[in-house]
């Protein structure tokens, strides 16, 4: 049996919005940002979360980071349940799960020197001596491809790509096993993106890291990840190997999403599946299959019954009445 590093089981996160619901708040309107998301991640592999804004991918990442408390469901890390951990077990979990965010201009404190930025997680944890700490910071900087004298400088002295390297060094300071990458290259210049993606892959090999990668660029996700999960309105609609999902998407939403990709070449204009309408509000998701309001293959059944996630012959899972048992 495979030992998974991370197992998310039926994760749910609802946010209350607006007023109403009475004194006891029992009927307060809820945004179902994440609504029953499950996945497993092996050590040293990468999971990509894709979907349009509002699909719940960032909320899922924040649940994994324990920045939000789950409404329901469980997160198992190395076999231990961590979704309700507090105190010492929570700190131990957070040491092993780190994050790199989109914008290295806002994620680094402009008043701190690079060495203090990279060392901060270690200082907070407080288990390293000064000499040991300095050596490790220098090693981290060289691992991410920065000069040793970068340590004494401030973030404004660096370009976007170099800043993202600093953020990555900080993310690695505690020797985590899982790193959450939320749009790690979308704020960077095109000529810099490949550098950072290559660096992330080298680090993954070197430290046997697992990644949960969120990116709107499907080509980046397909390039970086072993498994891709496609989300729509808080649910996973399809999940499978990056290869199967990007070559032959099965769910109509995945098909539409991948067909909306920009062409790699001027004549590579694939037939696009046009989606009508807008993403419905997660406050009031449509009954039945959430995607039925925009689906080109909608059937009567889709409007009333929610399709379950079923396993397809090639091992991927998808939630669609067209693909399920007839």
């Amino acid at each position: 049996m495979t030992q998974y590093l991370l197992e998310a089981d039926n994760l749910v996160k609802h946010f209350p919005v607006g007023r109403g619901g009475g004194f006891r708040q029992t009927n307060r309107p809820m945004i179902k940002a994440v609504d029953g998301v499950s996945f497993k991640l092996e050590a040293g592999t990468s999971l990509g979360l894709v979907g349009e804004s509002g699909c719940g991918k960032t909320t899922t990442a924040r649940l994994l980071l324990r920045l939000y408390d789950v409404t329901a469901g469980s997160i198992r890390f190395g076999g231990e349940e961590v979704q309700n951990a507090t105190g010492k077990p929570l700190r131990a979990y957070r040491n092993q799960v780190q994050a790199v965010f989109q914008d290295p201009y806002s994620s680094l404190n402009p008043r701190m020197r690079v060495r203090d930025i990279v060392a901060e997680p270690l200082v907070a944890q407080g288990q390293m001596g000064r000499k040991e700490l300095r050596d490790w910071v220098n090693e981290l900087l060289s691992v991410v491809g920065l000069d040793a004298n970068a340590a004494h400088r401030f973030p404004h002295e660096f370009s976007g790509g170099q800043r993202q390297r600093i953020a990555i060094a900080r993310g690695l300071a505690l020797r985590p096993r899982l790193v959450i990458l939320d749009e790690p290259v979308s704020a960077l210049d095109v000529s810099i993106r490949a550098q950072i993606l290559n660096l992330l892959q080298d680090l993954q090999d070197k430290f046997n890291l697992s990644y949960v990668l969120i990116a709107h660029d499907l080509d980046v996700v397909a390039h970086m990840c072993d498994v891709i999960a496609v989300m729509y309105l808080g649910k996973i609609v399809e999940m499978g190997t990056a290869d199967s999902i990007s070559r032959a998407p099965a769910h109509p939403y995945t098909q539409a999403l991948f067909s909306a990709r920009l062409p790699a070449r001027p004549d590579g204009r694939a037939a696009r599946i046009k989606l009508s309408g807008e993403i419905p509000s997660p406050l009031n998701p449509p009954p039945g299959c959430h995607f039925h309001t925009r689906c080109p293959h909608v059937m009567a059944r889709c409007r009333s019954a929610q399709p379950p996630l079923t396993t397809l012959p090639d091992g991927r899972i998808a939630a669609c009445h067209l693909l399920g048992p007839a």
Binding site: D219, V220, A242, A260, L275
Partner: protein
């Protein structure tokens, strides 16, 4: 007035940004020349700081205060826009030339209904009011495929999604049937499916209104989707320009080649490493004497560090500024 096939001609444009101390001069655009034919779509591709947006803003004459056009000519229908007075530019802008910016949340005023913002250019330039104004607005809303226009026109920007707002911005831009439309990163703020919808819309508008379009983007995919020709900029200069297929099939400048090779492509899985470009773009206030790409160039020659390469013609419409190209 007809000036043949060419709508816009930019000749040796130099736009510099002066520092507050007056000493630091950032050469944002440093000698850019190109033509735009009627009905043609030209892509300006570059990274941040390449001068692509500054080129667009120079044409519209809406540069930030610190930026100045130092020299060059911008001929629009044969007339030099740089010689026009402010009043005349105001008459041209929004009527004969208009612009779509990246983020519709920023380009629309949150305090006015989208209807009043759509009406403004029609009132100012076309002196429309009453029923003709209302009809024209409904017509524009349907041209950008927004359902139930009467309701939408009464709403404020925050009541609509980003994709819908960008379509409103598109409607405002084409309201007076301009000849030139400049779109600066028009889909960067949008989701992929919405981006695809908006690019479809731009294409439809261009073809139905016979617009000439300049698309400023960092994304080769957007250019591949929309453009006839592209111009690749680096550090304020044009490094390569040519028909879109030429650029994709036979890029000649090392920067263009490297950029195209560094883009991950989901149809070609299995390549574990991407070809990356080392280093980062230069500081435009402290440019090296030779070719600004030389420090990052994989096929750099000794000469590149000394002299900026002139423009070398590869095919009738394909040019590149590189000593390597000239040596071949």
């Amino acid at each position: 007035m007809n000036h043949g096939d060419t709508l816009l001609q930019v000749k040796d444009l130099k736009t510099h940004i002066l520092g507050r101390d007056g000493l630091r001069v950032t050469k944002a655009v440093d000698g850019v020349s190109f033509d735009l034919k009627r009905g043609e779509t030209l892509g300006i591709i570059g990274e941040s700081g390449s001068g692509k947006t500054m080129t667009a803003l120079s044409i519209m004459r809406i540069l930030p205060e610190a930026a100045r056009v130092i020299s060059g000519e911008i001929l629009f229908n044969g007339e030099n826009l740089l010689k026009k007075g402010d009043a005349e530019m105001r008459r041209l802008r929004g009527e004969q030339m208009s612009m779509i910016l990246q983020d519709p949340m920023v380009s629309l005023d949150p305090l006015f209904t989208v209807g009043s913002q759509l009406a403004e250019p029609l009132k100012v330039h076309r002196r429309l009011s009453g029923a003709p104004l209302a009809n024209r607005m409904t017509e524009l809303m349907s041209a950008v495929s927004i359902p139930s226009p009467e309701t939408r026109l009464k709403q404020y920007p925050h009541q609509m999604s980003g994709g819908m707002l960008q379509r409103i911005v598109g409607a405002i831009a084409i309201s007076c049937d301009p000849q030139l439309l400049i779109a600066d990163e028009p889909t960067t703020a949008l989701d992929p499916t919405v981006q695809a919808q908006f690019l479809d819309l731009l294409e439809t508008l261009r073809d139905s209104k016979h617009l000439s379009v300049i698309v400023v983007t960092h994304d080769f995919g957007v250019a591949a989707r929309l453009c006839d020709r592209v111009m690749v900029m680096y550090a304020g200069r044009v490094v390569e320009m040519g028909p879109i297929r030429e650029i994709f099939d036979h890029p000649r400048h090392p920067y263009t080649k490297a950029l195209l090779a560094s883009i991950p492509d989901a149809t070609e899985l299995g390549a574990r490493r991407l070809r990356s470009i080392e280093g980062s773009p230069p500081d435009l206030a402290m440019l090296p004497p030779g070719c600004p790409f030389a420090p990052r160039c994989p096929s750099v020659l000794e000469r590149c560090h000394r002299e900026y390469p002139g423009e070398f013609r590869i095919a009738s419409e394909h040019v590149a500024s590189c000593w390597q190209v000239s040596a071949q």
